[in-house]
């Protein structure tokens, strides 16, 4: 199909708002009578609360409410309902909210917080998930067995093991007996902060008369958060209203109730007055959520020619003190630890373990980043030991089109090999290394990833063609910064046949925009895109039928392009605006259509009965190739170039895809080389952006984004997704390049300058 917008470098529809300072974020929401919230947080990692004295806080001028878990004894949790809005009886990490204040000014709220006295009885704490999983470890959630968890996950009451997952396919003993070599390696990946430039923030209003809870926030899945809150507060879905603002960055971090929770607790005690809660950068770094750290053991059997025969994986994931989306991150991540490779015999064991640390949650990649780190480093180790080119080992084991996935879903792998071929070609794979000059040594590394999307999930949309021919597209897909509005508008414009400029996509409001699973799992282009196609086709049909009536012709003879209705023989012509004026100009009216999309029922996700949930309606493939320069005197690793090839299905907006890839590469580089929490007794010591270092303009390598288009058979215009997978291969590509440069294998992240230098100095001469 010929397109006007899809596939084109269409400027972002949100850019004008953003370059002029007009874009409204949750921190910018201001309402009449608005109060300001502040939070008292736990100084201890694990302690019983003996007593809280709020009397002095209540005397601070301007204070309107002081709330603790005693007054608001509710808990929430999207997967396991284990997290109190405000501590109940005990605290489980340094930074846990214990009490909150709402006051006329931020200063008054802060002053009151400092006057709250809490008496704690300290309990032994545990910070290493491997230790927390052992018998005899201090128990963090005594009531684990009683928590509501929807029976999706296997909990282990009486321990710190939040959830466990086991899976096997084939017979690993047989597989290992067929192997010529067996590799056993252990890897570690550290927790990192999302570091959105906009910290978590929300404005919450509860009107007791109508029992209406309204939340202004940039949460990435407003319908899910409304559903979560309605459930725990015994409200109906239509009594909880999420009004989305622009989001100042999320990266998964805004996929949970964070600042919203403090606001909700306070708003119940402010007699209808709205409360604004803005997390400070310190709160953002220490008391929001982080990427799950993980200890990963991989055992892999290989034939001499590099063919994988069997693989075993055992992963311990750190859940932190509360679950957030940890259970799903752990199981989704675990499933893809064997990468995009045929694995006839395999076993998986995943345990998600509570510790006395900041909660872990979704982080761009949803577990894929952690497992790709282990998988791709080990593939490199295998290639090195067997003396086979790392590119060759990958090609030899890649899923071929039609191969079964671990749950017997049939894989469609168009695009996979191309990502590897193009990335390696761009980096100059196999070319002779330049001569080392001085202390600087160069090396190249490569890594491939596989990422699915949570399947099946639903998206709905509603399209209105207004009386003047303008078009409004109602969805609950939040513009989290990744270009959602632009891509959806492009799809709508081409499907209906109207100019892009005539389309408006307002920010979501769960009271009026239809349900969407959320901007998560790289799913929006595919799922909401498909919903828009369905709704768009409906309104297009109605427009042409109406035009047929007015022009007294067969609608089959008519077409709509760029807002112009054209007859096949070009005899009749009218604009959509004229059509709408003729039909509805007098009394008003609109042409409307709805779209509902779910991949459920698609033949593409058929699998072994009972484990279809492991299937993905689309698989995203990506390969990154890195070239680094290691300074053997200082330990500094300079990333010179990263070629990043991504199979996106079809690039609805190629430059939008480039934005995702470039941004992920820098984030991946930053996570890998610079970012690290320094902790003492569970307290994060580097809680400012001066001490928690993220990449700057000076750390920018040459990045070459490469877009591969495999055209998904059921995707909107053939599209899949790109938001998450771009982060996963960066770390192993860099580590593999460091190995190529200096022969040192890093199995633990981050790879800081100090670690590199120490490893170089300890190297046997």
């Amino acid at each position: 199909m010929e397109t006007q917008y899809v596939g084109k470098r269409v400027p972002r529809v949100d850019a004008l708002d953003k370059v002029t300072g007009q874009a409204m974020y949750s921190v910018d929401v201001e309402l009449p009578g608005m109060l300001y919230g502040a939070t008292l947080r736990s100084p201890l990692a694990h302690a019983k609360i003996v007593e809280i004295d709020t009397s002095a806080a209540l005397t601070v001028p301007g204070v309107r409410a002081v709330v603790t878990g005693k007054e608001f004894p509710f808990t929430f949790g999207h997967m396991i309902k284990d997290q109190p809005f405000l501590s109940i009886h005990k605290v489980r990490y340094v930074g846990e909210p214990v009490a909150a204040v709402a006051a006329e000014t931020e200063a008054a709220a802060q002053e009151a917080v400092e006057k709250i006295r809490v008496e704690y009885e300290e309990l032994p704490a545990v910070f290493d998930p491997r230790k927390a999983a052992l018998d005899g470890a201090p128990i963090i959630h005594e009531d684990l067995g009683k928590y509501d968890h929807g029976n999706v996950y296997e909990l282990v009451p009486g321990t710190n093991i939040s959830t466990v997952m086991k899976y096997s396919r084939g017979d690993v003993e047989v597989g290992f007996s067929e192997a010529d070599e067996v590799f056993e390696d252990e890897f570690y990946i550290h927790p990192v902060a999302h570091t959105p430039m906009e910290t978590h923030a929300a404005v919450v209003q509860y009107t007791p008369s109508g029992k209406m809870l309204t939340v202004w926030s940039s949460a990435d899945a407003p319908c899910q958060r409304a559903k979560d809150l309605a459930k725990v507060l015994s409200l109906s879905f239509n009594q909880v209203r999420f009004i989305s603002t622009y989001s100042g960055g999320g990266f998964g971090g805004k996929g949970a109730i964070v600042a919203e929770g403090i606001g909700v607790a306070l708003a119940h005690f402010t007699k209808g007055r709205p409360v604004k809660v803005i997390y400070s950068r310190q709160e953002e770094l220490t008391a929001s959520q982080v990427r799950l750290e993980a200890y990963l053991k991989l055992k892999t059997g290989v034939k001499k020619d590099g063919t994988l025969t069997a693989r075993e994986a055992e992963i311990i994931w750190d859940n932190g003190a509360y679950s957030s989306k940890g259970p799903e991150v752990a199981r989704r991540g675990t499933l893809t630890i064997f990468g995009p490779y045929r694995t006839p015999h395999l076993t998986l064991l995943s345990r998600l373990v509570y510790t006395n640390k900041q909660p872990s949650g979704a982080y761009r990649g949803f577990g894929t980043t952690q497992v790709t780190w282990a998988c791709e480093a080990q593939i490199d180790i295998i290639a090195g030991k067997l003396g086979i080119d790392p590119v060759e080992v990958r090609l030899r084991n890649f899923y071929a089109d039609g191969d079964p996935y671990i749950n017997e879903q049939i894989m469609h792998t168009a695009g996979l090999r191309e990502t590897l071929e193009k990335a390696s070609q761009e980096i100059g794979w196999g070319q002779k290394k330049p001569k080392t000059t001085g202390t600087k040594v160069r090396g190249k590394g490569i890594a491939t990833t596989i990422k699915g999307t949570n399947t099946p999930t639903d998206s709905y949309c509603f399209i209105k063609v207004n009386v003047d021919g303008s078009v409004t597209v109602l969805t609950s897909s939040v513009e989290i910064g990744a270009g959602q509005k632009t891509v959806l508008a492009q799809i709508a414009a081409d499907t209906i046949g109207v100019p892009l400029a005539s389309i408006h996509i307002p920010n979501p409001d769960t009271c009026s925009t239809p349900f969407d699973f959320g901007v998560t799992s790289s799913r929006t282009t595919y799922h909401m895109g498909n919903a828009i196609c369905l709704a768009g086709q409906k309104v297009r049909r109605q427009i042409l039928e109406t035009a047929g009536e007015i022009l007294k012709t067969d609608p089959e003879r008519l077409t709509l392009r760029e807002g112009e209705i054209i007859d096949r023989d070009a005899e009749n012509q009218m604009t959509l605006k004229e059509l709408m004026a003729k039909k509805y100009g007098g009394k008003g009216g609109a042409i409307q259509g709805e779209g509902y999309f779910t991949p459920a029922g698609s033949s593409l996700i058929k699998a072994k009965p009972g484990i279809e949930w492991m299937s993905s309606i689309f698989w995203m493939w990506a390969t990154h190739a890195a070239e680094v320069e290691v300074d053997t005197e200082t330990g500094v690793v300079k990333v010179l170039k990263i070629a990043a090839a991504h199979d996106v299905g079809r690039a609805i907006n190629p430059i939008g895809c480039e934005q995702q890839i470039e941004g992920s590469v820098i984030m991946g580089l930053s996570n890998t080389l610079f970012e690290e929490f320094k902790m003492e007794k569970g307290r994060i010591m580097n809680d400012t952006l001066a001490d928690y270092k993220v990449a700057t303009t000076l750390d920018l390598p040459e990045i070459v984004p490469i877009i591969v288009e495999s055209h998904h058979s059921e995707g909107p215009f053939g599209a899949k997704g790109v938001g998450e997978p771009a982060l996963a291969p960066t770390a192993p590509a860099i580590a593999n390049a460091i190995y190529d440069a200096v022969g040192i294998r890093f199995k633990s992240l981050p790879i800081t300058r100090e670690k590199v230098l120490a490893a170089i100095r300890n190297r046997k001469p």
Binding site: R12, V19, T20, G21, R281, G481, Q659, E662, L698, L700
Partner: protein, 168 residues
């Protein structure tokens, strides 16, 4: 909170923002960012770290870039303050704003006002800034979305346009 005890004396302060003069009552400890956002409604000034480490709150003071979150508001007295809201004219966007749109230098947009104003200060001071000089000049402005690639491209493109505009 009229009528309640414990209220500090506010100071009367005259500020010139985007060509307009305002008289505001400020607390002596209030930052310029806070006054611009909360008292005057210039919410294009974005606060992110509140400690001068990220550059989101960058505004121009007599043409020089400052981090308004760590500057006390009274220090801006008598100076011309420029926020992102004052950059475009009635009819035209500034070349930097145009370039940020054309070159896809915007994602979530939260760092964008600070980036654009920092770039303006850099190019006003050094109209022939090289790419390396621009990268160096932006080191105090963090962005988590874009990877900086398209931001640097946009500024390089705007540089040429700004030369043409200023030579007219």
């Amino acid at each position: 909170m009229p009528g309640e005890k414990g209220i500090y004396m506010k100071q009367r302060l005259e500020l010139k923002v985007n060509g307009q003069t305002y008289e505001v009552l400020v607390d002596p400890w209030q930052s310029l960012a806070d006054v611009l956002r909360e008292e005057l409604g210039y919410t294009g000034v974005k606060v992110s770290c509140n400690s001068g480490n990220c550059g989101s709150c960058t505004v121009l003071l007599d043409g020089k870039a400052v981090k308004s979150c760590i500057m006390l508001a009274p220090l801006a007295k008598g100076k011309e303050i420029l926020t992102i809201e004052g950059l475009a004219t009635e009819s035209n966007l500034h070349p930097l704003q145009e370039a940020f749109i054309e070159h896809f230098a915007v994602q979530c947009g939260y760092c964008t006002p600070g980036m654009i104003l920092m770039a303006k200060a850099l190019l006003d001071e050094n109209p022939n800034a090289t790419e390396d000089e621009i990268r160096e000049g932006l080191v105090g402005n963090l962005c988590r979305c874009t990877g900086y690639v398209k931001i640097v491209e946009a500024i390089m493109a705007a540089k040429e346009k700004m030369k043409v505009t200023s030579s007219r």
